[in-house]
Symmetry: C2
Subunit: 413 residues, 2 copies
């Protein structure tokens, strides 16, 4: 008998736990619900002091039954780096960067897939598929490799090629899709029954949100069980925002922490900004950005923030309600602002993904406009390394498809 169930984030319906299909009948997203009184018996501030520096220190708040099912590569408990020089420059009380690129697959995606793949292992699943703008594909590939599960990854072809190439290195069947991430998702849905794939796309299963939740748990613990005032986060599908919000709710319920929730700021790229448009129905973008790529380092790094390119987030209403309830906001930044931010962070010793740099760019704007106040403590997330976004030709060995039929043709060759 599992010690946790599911609840609908929209209509509050309760359901037994399962490891796939997270849509409620009402259309809301199902999330994992724990017996927090039971959890609090063993998970205490005191007990945490003795635990190992991994995201699995929060074991009781992750939905894996048997410790033997945990698929770990050394994820979580990433450094929270203070930026004192910039606190002075920008008149902020505190400024930190959470260095998520120090996860085992070089990106924050390790967290979600450590939990998701553990759940698949516990359920005896043998094949998993994901539509991904890149880092999620690499993370599924790595964790599935470790678990002995076959991985199938479908990646829009504008994704930086090194991030694509990691996937076959980890042994995954790797396919490029001539389309957006929802086109990749449609291919998986079309082939799911026939192929026996479990779809581990965003909000399709419970593990990834629970894994991302550990970013919030860590943040609270690393800040001595206090909240920062503002969290600035690069947002595509939004499972990180949902996960951190859930983490803070659980910590509040368990009495670990009091006070106001942080204000959540979702950062997106100009031109692909559904959350920004939802928060500000009349767009406030004033950039004269041409939309062209702005190569850095003699053309080798293209600040191409594909991780934020999710035109149709799986549960936009949930994201909007979190942002608005928290007193947060959403902001779109241009490629030019992202390119400048990569260089600013680099000069301070930090190699940042375009998505991570976007949080820096957003912070500068919010500081300029006065939305950020001198009393604010602010946390940014660097999600991956700059060098993973280097420009390389696409590997000739990786097929490019548009539909599930194309996939079947490719497999029959």
């Amino acid at each position: 008998m599992k010690q946790w169930g599911l609840y609908c984030s929209r209509c509050s319906a309760r359901l037994p736990f399962r490891y796939q299909d997270m849509k409620c009948e009402c259309g809301g997203t199902l999330l994992v619900e724990y017996d927090l009184e039971l959890v609090a018996r063993t998970l205490t501030k005191e007990s945490l002091k003795q635990r190992y520096s991994s995201m699995w220190r929060y074991r009781e708040l992750l939905p894996v039954e048997d410790s033997a099912s945990i698929v770990s590569l050394g994820e979580g408990w990433t450094p929270l780096l203070r930026m004192p020089k910039w606190e002075n420059k920008l008149s902020l009380k505190r400024l930190w960067i959470k260095r998520e690129e120090q996860n085992p697959t070089g990106s924050f995606k390790s967290r979600g897939f450590s939990v998701a793949v553990s759940l698949l292992k516990e359920a005896g699943v043998t094949k998993a598929a994901v539509p991904s703008n890149g880092n999620a594909a690499g993370a599924l590939a790595a964790y599935a490799g470790r678990a002995g599960i076959q991985a199938f990854v479908f990646i829009p072809m504008d994704c930086p090629s090194l991030i694509v190439d990691e996937c076959p290195l980890y042994g995954a069947t790797t396919i490029l899709v001539d389309g957006f991430i929802h086109d990749a998702a449609a291919i998986i849905e079309a082939g799911r029954d026939e192929q026996g794939w479990v779809n581990v796309g965003t909000l399709k299963e419970p593990g990834r949100v629970e894994g991302k939740k550990t970013m919030g748990l860590e943040l609270a613990e690393q800040l001595g069980w206090t909240f920062p005032d503002v969290i600035i986060y690069p947002t595509g599908g939004g499972s990180g925002i949902i996960g951190m919000w859930k983490a803070f709710m659980e910590l509040k319920s368990m009495g670990f922490i009091q006070g106001d929730m942080p204000r959540f700021v979702c950062v997106q790229e100009e031109g692909c900004q559904p959350i920004v448009d939802g928060v500000h129905p009349v767009s406030t973008a004033t950039s004269d950005d041409s939309g062209d790529d702005l190569p850095l380092l003699d053309g080798k790094i293209i600040p191409n923030p594909t991780g934020m390119r999710v035109p149709n987030p799986p549960d936009l209403p949930l994201l909007l309600s979190i942002v608005q309830q928290s007193g947060g906001t959403a902001i779109a930044v241009s490629k030019k602002q992202i390119a400048d931010a990569i260089l600013s962070l680099g000069a301070d010793g930090i190699s940042s993904s375009p998505e991570g740099a976007a949080t820096w760019a957003a912070m500068l704007v919010l500081s300029d406009t006065g939305w950020l106040r001198a009393s604010d403590s602010v946390v940014l997330f660097n999600t991956s390394h700059a060098m993973k976004y280097a420009k390389l030709g696409t590997s000739a060995a990786i097929p490019i498809i548009r539909t599930y039929d194309d996939y079947m043709i490719y497999r029959s060759l």
Copy 2:
């Protein structure tokens, strides 16, 4: 008054502390000596349990006087990952990989440069230079950037281009050298006085060995204050071996740990194997490796272990004495063995540098020959990510030189 001094690892002479020129008159290498009784008053197993998960938890065993001088980007306390499947396959008691690629600059070089740059900052130095096969250059560039020190990096031109390109991203003056790492070192020595560079090359200053030492301190602490039986380490200049050996000596002196030292195994690349030749004066290499590059993933990743390409280690006698005293050995592996190992580790979810993969290849050989025993617990080091070794053209903006005169010509253009 500093609480530490220097001692000569060859003639045992004692000298006052300084931050450069680590050669004793006798030709031996000078290392930092602490008052271990004083250290043990505050650095205890109990106090460590309360400390933050960073290599600076061993603060009293690092030669930085003022905490304000510490230049940190979130280095150390990297995961030690068990490989249970392979323990069974190879009949080993325990097998771990220390995941050094999870350091802030994506490689184990973060550790040494965090300490080295802190010492430079404490001394008021404004310009630092390093000859490097790549990852050290990136680490100097990042830490110097963070500290506001100008970095000058000189890199042999066979170094993977992404690793080269990181350096200008961090704001370093970046120069490719048509030659080996000792040619790069000669350029720095030639220009040192004129340019005001402090040379932070291997064993030229005390910080890098002390920083690498934290790998040994962590290993002992993560294993519950026990030694593994065998450490397999990719060896170029050898500061990691010297550092870990020093760590273990200090821990033994302080009573933290008893028993035999681990057997140190140095891994090198066939054809550039001074340590192997020193340990086995008649080479035992039997490979029919052609010496050609063996590209992976459709030609994009070249397993080019430049980090091990140090034909003249700065203190070969010290390395040989550590390896031999410990009951260890040295072994050269081929590019083919390294390429196979990258794929084996990838299939288990680990993205490994060619140098890290070389330790895997060496382990397979030592297991085959019976040098590794069923009672052995073994630790390998993965030093960086596979993807950093992707093949890209050299950036046209980075000059290629042979001599210090070439450097002066380049600067005058």
